[in-house]
């Protein structure tokens, strides 16, 4: 073997003598990463975040976060001579008079949309594969914190240009703050430094947007990655994959190259969008004045579900001891967010409580193999999706010629009925897919060969499934069920005596009971007679 050139050994020895990183790298560069396309979804968010930091820095060079009034004299003619805030004027300046400024603004905004979208699909992947289970609950919580902070980061960033659209969003934010009982007005005055809109909110949001939240995000992203590294990535079930190993490619070189390529893909897609698709054209919106409001004022997509909740809510308001309690704002602002975010954060612990499962899990579940979890997830998506869709109900109404109130009433009913229907359909689909799996294992797969029996009967010859597919299916793991049966003297176990305990036991039984146990081949009595016509029986004849 050739010795490495001196230029490399010299430098690496210098660094290693002083930092001692050689051992660390030796151990970690060969870290094994499992391969599955859905494991790259989180990286979309990670790489978008990198792009956000870089383009955001560029934008800070020219952006002036001030609300002092100025007269626009830049090159966008339809706003020439119009009075506006410094923030808006400088955002226009970036768009029209800074070289590459508009491209940077657009890349920054598209990256922001994909940042949250990437986080969302990554979170859904982790949820549906049960990858949040022990020992990864803390990393799951970090993920939920990251998602919540990303929403706040998006909200503050969306408000910075001080255009008419972002002003509408800010006004709703103010309204939500005011709706909070007792402390609402104090909070509002604290944030805005006086009456709305005041002169402070843009500069305050600026500090929050470029310093505070990105700092926390960076720290949490690091923690997220370190924990993932230390705990190792989960893997999909398959041949040779157990709870005690990780099957995949080493970080260096294979995974690093793939990750690097995927960064370039992410950057490429965002740059393409930034180049060819206009986003947040603030010059069309005009400067913010509290007196103006436009039709089609929507937030960015990740706030759409809150917008939808607000649009669906009936105008409920009560007067309690001389105080107005505005349920029409309070409920849509807090309840859906609470259901979605709190529900997500608590789910690993609720599931553990129901199943009593204290084992470590490093092999991910296939969504079908935990039908209740998958159904809960899909009904959550349906709940979120209906709110999200109804956030755009005016555009839907205007473009598809559906009466606005029809969309509102559809939403009001669908928000309750939709998740229930979605739950039932998903559950049945999971059971159906499990049955299909069981059939593949016990009967094999259809070969496409039709055979005529001596008695004139036609059958299709089934062949055993490929080994990797069979192993993938056999990776199904039972969900534990709490012990709740009475003992010999008719006394239920300790945990199942109270009302809550009985409920827990019932839920556990429903959640964990496996309705389609896998059977390998044709061991069961009477099985062949039942199915001889389609498979198992004739396979013997082929042998």
């Amino acid at each position: 073997m050739n010795a490495p050139p001196k230029a490399i050994t010299g430098v690496s020895t210098f660094v290693d003598d002083r930092i001692g990183a050689g051992n660390f790298l030796k151990r970690n560069l060969r870290k094994i990463f499992p391969d599955h396309w859905s494991f790259l979804l989180g990286e979309i968010a990670l790489y978008s975040f990198v792009i956000l930091l870089l383009t955001g820095t560029f934008l800070t060079f020219w952006f002036k976060p001030g609300m002092a009034e100025t007269t626009y004299t830049g090159s966008y003619a339809p706003l020439y001579g119009v009075k506006m805030s410094e923030a808006y004027a400088s955002a226009l300046n970036i768009s029209f008079d800074v070289r590459g400024g508009l491209l940077m603004r657009q890349i920054h905004h598209w990256a922001a949309l994909l940042f949250v979208a990437g986080m969302t699909v990554h979170m859904l992947r982790v949820f549906f594969t049960g990858a949040y289970r022990k020992p990864r609950e803390l990393n799951w919580i970090i993920g939920i914190l990251l998602l919540s902070l990303a929403l706040l980061e998006g909200l503050t960033g969306y408000s910075l240009p001080d255009d008419l659209l972002s002003g509408a969003g800010l006004r709703i934010t103010e309204g939500v703050m005011l709706a909070i009982p007792i402390v609402g007005t104090y909070l509002q005055f604290f944030l805005f430094g006086g009456e709305y809109p005041g002169h402070d909110v843009i500069s305050r949001f600026y500090s929050i947007h470029i310093l505070l939240i990105p700092g926390i995000l960076l720290a949490l992203v690091s923690a997220h990655m370190i924990l993932m590294w230390v705990q190792k990535h989960t893997q999909m079930p398959g041949k040779g994959r157990t709870e005690k190993n990780v099957v995949g490619a080493p970080f260096y070189p294979a995974f690093m190259i793939k990750a690097g390529a995927f960064f370039l893909f992410t950057f490429g897609v965002i740059a393409l969008l930034g180049t060819f698709a206009q986003i947040n054209p603030i010059w069309l919106f005009g400067p913010y004045t509290p007196a103006d409001i436009s039709a089609g004022s929507q937030p960015d997509w990740y706030m759409g579900f809150l917008e939808g909740a607000l649009r669906l809510m009936p105008a409920w308001e009560i007067n309690f001891l001389g105080h107005t309690v505005t349920f029409s704002v309070l409920i849509p602002a807090l309840v859906p967010l609470g259901i979605v975010m709190t529900g997500l954060a608590l789910y690993p612990f609720l599931e553990q409580w129901v199943t009593g499962d204290r084992r470590e899990h490093h092999v991910a579940d296939r969504p079908r193999n935990n039908p209740h979890r998958t159904a809960i997830g899909i009904s959550g998506i349906t709940f979120y999706g209906i709110l999200w869709l109804l956030g755009a109900n005016d555009e839907i109404s205007a473009n598809f010629h559906i009466s606005l109130y029809t969309t509102t009433w559809f939403g009001r009913i669908a928000i309750f009925v939709g998740p229930a229907i979605a739950y039932w359909i998903t559950y049945r689909m999971c059971i159906g897919l499990q049955r299909k799996d069981a059939e593949v294992l016990s009967h094999g797969v259809e070969s496409g060969v039709i055979k005529r029996m001596p008695n004139g009967q036609y059958i299709e010859v089934h062949t055993p499934p490929a080994e990797d597919i069979a192993e993938h299916i056999r990776g199904k793991k039972e969900i534990p069920v709490l012990e709740s049966a009475e003992d010999g003297e008719g006394i239920p176990p300790k945990g199942a005596r109270s009302a809550l305990g009985r409920l827990r036991a019932k839920m556990s039984e429903a959640y964990g009971t496996d309705h389609v146990p896998l059977t390998d081949g044709h061991h069961e009595e009477g099985h062949e007679g039942e199915h001889a016509g389609v498979g198992a029986g004739d396979r013997k004849e082929l042998h």
Partner: protein, 276 residues
């Protein structure tokens, strides 16, 4: 009756004929209407006709009106339970509604949509129809070419007025928006400067009237300058995505952006290391 050969009984019988009552009412209405038409002052009609065009136009307009409009608006534009009276709406309203194809309305809906004009509705026919309706009771007239010339307006001032008065319904750059009960604010892109002016002056359908004391004719021209300037603008940032804001942006982020990235992730992970 004695000597006439007609028996009293037969007269009584005719009087009691089922159609007799209808005939009497029709006769009475005819006499009353005819008498009123003769007695009513005709001076103002003639003056208005002269103000808005030739008296010929009024006559031509009336026959067009009878042929195409009277079935809903009434023979004399007095209105029916299907459509409002047109007395006093002015030539501007007629020009707006007919030149944009909204009238004659195709069917009864919450709102008459813009559509291609019928064949008979040539510019001349629209003018004649407008002259006739103007002759009925005055109202806003069709603006002159100078009044709607975008080149003479100030788009920046117009933009401020536009944002203060129009975008609540018509969206930031006139993409249109939804209203209640199936009504909507139509997109402004196909509207001509004259139609924009007339819409403000007459308040068609769900739109409020912005008369000359609310928004002066000069301000209307500024707004026309802004609307036509912005809608002809090439989007500097690429495709405008319908110019309706974050809804289409979010759609593109998911459908285009995220789909491409998921395809890339599938492609990347599909490349397996060959066993050495």
């Amino acid at each position: 009756m004695i000597g006439t050969g007609i028996s009293v009984n037969s007269i009584t019988a005719r009087r009691r004929h089922p159609l007799a009552r209808v005939a009497v009412v029709a006769l009475a209405l005819g006499l009353l209407g005819g008498g009123y038409a003769l007695a009513a002052p005709n001076g103002s009609t003639a003056d208005a006709a002269i103000a808005s065009g030739k008296a010929d136009d009024v006559a031509q307009g009336k026959s067009l009106f009878v042929a195409h409009c009277a079935s809903c608006h009434g023979m004399n534009a007095e209105g029916t339970n299907k459509a409002p009276t047109l007395i006093g709406v002015g030539a501007a309203a007629v020009n707006f509604q007919v030149s944009s194809g909204r009238m004659p309305a195709a069917d009864a809906g919450p709102q008459a949509p813009r559509k291609p004009r019928p064949e008979w509705a040539t510019d001349q026919a629209v003018d004649q129809l407008a002259a006739y309706v103007q002759s009925l009771g005055g109202g806003p007239t069709v603006p002159s070419a100078e009044q709607v010339d975008p080149a003479k307006g100030d788009p920046a001032k117009g933009g401020e007025l536009f944002r203060a008065n129009c975008i609540q319904c018509h969206n930031f750059v006139g993409a249109g928006g939804a209203l209640t009960y199936g009504k909507y604010a139509p997109p402004l892109n196909p509207a001509t400067p004259t139609q924009i002016y007339e819409a403000m002056a007459t308040g068609p359908q769900a739109m409020p009237v912005f008369n000359d004391s609310t928004i002066t004719p000069e301000q209307k021209r500024d707004m026309i300058a802004y609307i036509t300037h912005v809608r002809s603008q090439v989007d500097p940032g690429g495709s405008g995505l319908g110019r309706i804001g974050p809804v289409t942006e979010g759609l593109v982020a998911w459908v285009v952006g995220l789909s491409l990235l998921i395809l890339a992730s599938i492609w990347i992970t599909a490349k397996k290391r060959r066993a050495a």
